[in-house]
Symmetry: C2
Subunit: 645 residues, 2 copies
């Protein structure tokens, strides 16, 4: 077989592939990110690239306009390389990591949206120890009179000094036991895993007193983004953090496409390897930043949705999407991290937050625990909006959960120029009520290349309240503006003219886009509404409305109420918690009690299948209006509209 080389710019990464090989796969191999939410099926049209040099064959796709084809754009997934190639990945096809750090940091901006941050009590000192503890012991050296074996000697000292009834021991730690004891002159620190209900287990032995060097890792395994925090378990502090895109994105943007990929031959292994490789990089980053030794990492706790959890652990996610939608495992045992591919010392165990159902995962359990919903009497509605909207309703006595397929609109899917909240994304818009001219604000103050979820909410509210669209999301065609026009896909509104953009074409929002956004917001609203009804309540009963997730922190509550995404209740009841999944994992690293609380939360939650409720479809259809078919539900919005007109 003839080998050829594909160079990717601006990544400056290269892959060596067989002649005739696929360009998207070459990008995977090179580690060059190209958006491809369909996983290479040719249906999403996101993997557009310019081939600057070399010979290739490429299928024409209706995802490329005539203009793009002429410019030399091709879909990477539809292209095979015939010679060495030089490929440039344009901005709109690239994942941009630099913007990740923006999230959760821009406090000033948060306030402008009127959301209150729910303070998660991370920095509190916990009374309890972590689930892995360090026990320092000094042993009597053996003598002819006292010549019991090394392990017996160690266990007896631990039992005496720390009151253990029984101690199990990990075989791996025995191989080096005798050498370490002698090297350390019988002065050692023992790592013990103390999960309740399981016999405490010796998992590692370190020379001398290392109780000061006691580190843990918290991980949020998001479908889109991976967050890693390095924690000082002794002083309960965050030492460093890092994040990156989940590299599985290259194999499919949402959980369903990833499950489909995982079912393919070697698919599961490939997805698992990809995510663990990136996590290893992130762990190396935080360890380097904090200047600690990996040897003293003692625990890793991850939280992720059910599919991300099963992919991380290498458990086939096939049945998640098959009726009746059950996860393989709700509560996971502790797993030796290096067995999964983590480049961590063999003594490090990984704990995974328990999951509730196929579409209500460990990220939600982690978040609910972090927000202490299970510890307070007040009624909380907790939502995490992504491709799926997960909803939890309850208090310290009970909890119900549901998930609704919101669609990918807020993450950029199904919207012509939709994109994630990265640089160049329109995140705010004001439309002049007279001229209908927009003023747009982008992340990074760059020329726009698309519009992100939080921007869509504001845009839709603006279009609606300024009278450019009707409550059913159709453009008012009689207005005196050239911004509303008929385009390829029906009527559209021009947000930015070609020359003002990074993408070289007019940046528009179409009626089809608006329809998709309305369906998304309708599904979430209907989900919350039906979940409340299922327990005999309505929105007025909610005392605290918690919006979780990175996206949540950027939602403009007023505008979200305006379009009927959020219910029309007093705005001070809304709070955001940022990445509560990561926060919960962090709490569980610090405190065994918090870990147990997460399991208690999981046990409390009853999952409700919304599709089983006949009223869900009615509620959903009623919510496919701006803000809602029943305007009485939105008195504040009614007032606003009256004010504008």
């Amino acid at each position: 077989m003839e080998e050829i080389i594909i160079d990717f710019y601006p990544d400056q990464k290269a892959a060596r592939i067989e002649k005739g090989g696929n360009l998207l796969k070459a990008a995977h191999a090179a580690g060059a990110h190209i958006n491809a939410s369909c996983g290479g099926a040719g249906t999403c049209g996101q993997c557009k690239v310019f081939i600057e040099k070399g010979e290739y064959e490429s299928k024409r796709s209706d995802k490329l306009t005539e203009e793009e084809w002429q410019q030399g754009k091709r879909l990477a997934c539809q292209t095979v390389a015939l010679t060495d190639l030089v490929v440039r990945i344009p901005p709109e096809s690239r994942l941009d990591r630099t913007v990740l750090k923006r999230k959760e940091k821009d406090a000033e901006r948060d306030k402008s949206f009127g959301l209150t941050a729910l303070k998660i009590t991370i920095e509190e000192a916990f009374e309890t120890e972590p689930v892995v503890v360090k026990r320092h012991v000094e042993l009597m050296p053996p003598s002819i009179e006292n010549n019991m074996g090394d392990l017996t000697r160690l266990i007896m000292a631990l039992k005496k000094q720390y009151d253990y009834d029984n101690l199990d021991v990990d075989f791996k730690s025995l191989k080096t036991l005798s050498t370490i004891l002698r090297k350390a002159n019988w002065n050692v620190t023992v790592l013990i895993l103390e999960k309740t209900g399981i016999t405490p287990k010796i998992i590692g032995i370190e020379e001398g007193d290392t109780t000061d060097k006691f580190y843990g890792i918290a991980v949020d395994v998001g479908t889109t983004t991976l967050y890693v925090q390095l924690l000082d378990m002794k002083n309960k502090a965050v030492l460093a953090e890092a994040s990156d895109y989940n590299p599985q994105i290259s194999y499919g943007e949402d959980v369903i496409t990833r499950i489909l990929y995982a079912i393919k031959s070697s698919g599961l292994e490939r997805l698992q390897e990809a995510v663990i490789k990136t996590l290893n990089n992130l762990i190396n980053e935080v360890v380097k930043e904090a200047g600690i030794s990996k040897d003293f990492i003692s625990l890793i706790i991850t939280a992720g949705n059910t599919t991300m959890t099963q992919l991380l652990l290498g458990i086939n996610p096939k049945y998640i999407r098959e009726h009746p939608y059950v996860p393989s495992v709700n509560f996971y045992p502790f797993i030796r991290a290096c067995n999964l591919g983590f480049e961590l010392p063999t003594h490090v165990y990984l704990y995974t937050m328990p999951v509730i159902a196929s579409y209500v995962g460990g990220d939600i359990v982690s978040g609910v625990m972090a927000c202490s919903i299970h510890q307070n009497q007040e009624l909380v509605l907790f939502i995490d909006v992504g491709t799926n909207g997960e909803i939890v309703l309850g208090n310290s006595d009970w909890m119900v959960t549901a998930s609704c397929s919101a669609g990918p609109a807020f993450e950029g899917g199904g919207v012509k120029y939709g994109m994630r909240a990265t640089r160049g994304a329109i995140e705010n818009v004001e439309i002049d009520v007279k001229t209908f001219e927009p003023t747009i604000y982008t992340i990074g103050n760059l020329k726009p290349k698309g519009i992100c979820g939080s921007g869509m909410i504001i845009l839709l509210a603006e279009l609606f309240t300024k009278g450019l669209i009707t409550p059913d999301g159709k453009f008012v065609k009689t207005l005196n503006t050239n911004r509303i026009r008929e385009g390829e896909n029906g009527y559209e509104y021009v947000l930015a003219w070609k020359d003002e953009t990074q993408i070289g074409v007019d940046l528009v929002i179409t009626e089809v886009d608006i329809d998709n956004i309305i369906r998304t917001k309708g599904a979430i609203y209907a989900g919350c509404s039906v979940l409340l009804k299922s327990v005999g309540l309505d929105f007025s009963n909610i005392e605290k409305f918690v919006i979780a997730g990175g996206f949540g922190s950027f939602i403009n509550v007023e505008k979200a109420i305006t379009i009927g995404l959020l219910p029309d209740i007093p705005q001070e009841r809304f709070m955001y918690v940022g990445n509560s999944s990561l926060a919960g994992a962090r709490l569980a690293v610090f405190s065994k009690e918090k870990l147990i609380e997460a399991e208690r939360c999981a046990n409390m939650m009853t999952n409700i299948e919304l599709s089983n409720y006949p009223s869900f479809m009615e509620e959903y259809v009623a919510a496919l209006f701006l803000p809602h078919t029943d305007l009485n539900k939105f008195p504040y919005v009614m007032e606003q509209i009256k004010g504008n007109n």
Copy 2:
């Protein structure tokens, strides 16, 4: 580097090595056995080979006679190959597996030696279950209303049906859980490890009801020999057995040379690999013989001395022979067998019999449990004679143990024509009281090539009682026989003339040999005596004297008393148990209670360092006489000698 090929005959095995490579190492690589008790140091002189073809360089060694050198014999360990070689391993340098099966089977012969077999209650039905159990459950399939995860569903069913309080789960079994449950239509059998003191743990899941297919493996890891039995855990039956030499012999014959080899770079790994490779072969043999599937093996239990145990598990044995002689571990956790290199399903766990001290190991604990010493009031002295003699004294209330360095005489070491009990070994001798001519009996009725341990005892007794040697082991030079003569190494007695042997030289026993045998028997006798004294007892208190080990079954009690190896107590008190180490492992596979009893035995045993007792040296010196300095201790022997003279 130039590669050359070394062919070994009659094994018909070949190794590809670098030019200039060592011949003994080449034999290791080829898997061709050559005796080499010094591990290749050039001091034992056992690795004699004929090089039939090719060029080589070989150092002359005083272990080779002038005649042997002329015949073309070379020490493999002192030879480097310069070209392809054809090497023939002569009978005396070869380990002979065919004879292994002889042991424990020749009931008729056993009786002739007057030993009674101690019946080990192996075939008894045990009330208790094994430590790994099989639980058959039929689950309700999931539905939208009842959609808990697969593992939760399984655990709830097990808790309900089998009354578990808590269940841990092995991560490995989770990866295939969902697939198996569906394939099996929710009808499965679950393997649960139920070690006391440790939370019961799900370790495997099998389709359908497999409770009838429930197999285990018992292994005796001897320094010389490996024994494997395949067991039917449901019906408590032995299905097949197999044995082979411990391939570590090629790296050193006794535990000390192996420890020295293990300390070398990669030595430990090589020794571990060697033994596990042979165990895998033996397991394949028994599985094939019984016609079962390996998939249904559920447990493996091994027993071995402390060094064999640490080598099997890959734990550096260095400290075993360093003051104050402590093992790394007394009580081992359950270890996943495949992690050690066993070619067994991932669900199979390995349990190792606990060890007492550096030189009192799991084989002894296993044997003591098998003999039920801990369950009876009668006082038992239990000995296992090998290179080390291990001694246990006690009953259901207390036990003390000791080991004495007996020396390798009974295993063939330190005796010019000493050898293991394999084909061609002299195992019985009668000497005519008038002519001093011997009648010899060999294993397999072949021409003799050496003399084995049980043969030495009889020979020594014959030489002594027939007046050929004095009580201090010196030849009586005034007798009218050409069989007593002065040889290279001092005075000697010719057992067989050159032409009557397989080895082409006169087969003799020398005064040096006799000295070594006397030292060995003296050490064992003194060890027993001091151990008794340490608890205020003497030989007359012993109600049962149990001789363990393959060698034990072949000891002629009368002759052993005659030379003062065994004490002069009524012969009906002596019993042999054969391979009690294997028997104990087998019992522990069948019954959790027996496994716990073994641990209880280990906890009961107090190890006594004989070297700490000043009286040991006195006792030892007093025992360096035939039968003993104090003839009053041997009234029966005194009578016999009087009868002969």
